[in-house]
Symmetry: C2
DNA sequence: TTCTATGCCGAATCTTTTTTCGGTTATTGT
DNA sequence: ACAATAACCGAAAAAAGATTCGGCATAGAA
């Protein structure tokens, strides 16, 4: 796996939390699993602009840090399913609030974003 | 400013929110301002491993998206102070929960992190 | 048998973000 | 006058993160 070059400090809660779910896709993946979309291909399809590879990689990280569990039946067309662990579930309320807050301000942010694109 | 090459979609709340405060430093900066650390140099000093340049850049983005305001008195030793806007304040409860959650699981995460470093 | 789908992985490449380094302006203290 | 500090900014470089591409294996369907 990838070896960091700069040291990180996990001294404040914010950094710790961001380490676990601060990526571009992690919260979306957790959200999908929470909604019952539990297989890699399905998760990939449910998240626009995502590639399957990145979903796999992020799932591996979520797995490593114990936010999700993997249940692979080793038969048939290899039906792998992921599910949230207790740790994963313990941050769902935060996820819900982030999502809600984002939705509240979605239009405003899109406007501001456009301003940036215009001047560029 | 930097011009993106890949399109983003701001179609789900999660993405919108992460666009505003999803960087490596933004939440820490908001936290600092909320704690009364309001000047760039002070913010920089309060966040370990941060460079002044990145604080300035992130402040500019927070400013653009209206999470903070700048109050620069154009006199004396240029006492610039940043403060949270209403929008900025509206996400403080999320910030507090993220921080809390991260602190709760800090030791666990550090352990898992070490495992990664050892195998590398 | 051949094609398709799934799950996974390695490696090269590209994009984005962060850092480093240098500079400008203006004020304060010596 | 001179050093120190603050706020900023631009640009090159480095680092981190994401994507593309190819591959492997398994199994079901055509």
């Amino acid at each position: 796996m990838y070896k960091r070059k700069m040291e990180e400090d996990l001294d404040c809660g914010i950094r710790v939390a961001l380490k676990l779910f601060g990526g571009k896709w992690k919260l979306c993946i957790i959200d999908a699993i929470n909604k019952g979309i539990v297989r890699p291909v399905e998760i990939h399809k449910s998240i626009s602009n995502s590639t399957l590879r990145v979903i796999e990689m992020q799932l591996a990280e979520l797995l490593h840090f114990g936010l999700v569990d993997k249940c692979a039946e080793d038969v048939y067309p290899k039906k792998t399913a992921y599910q949230l662990t207790e740790l994963g579930e313990s941050m769902l309320h935060i996820l819900a609030q982030i999502d809600h807050w984002g939705n509240e301000h979605s239009d405003y942010v899109k406007e501001k974003q456009q301003l940036l694109e215009e001047e560029a």
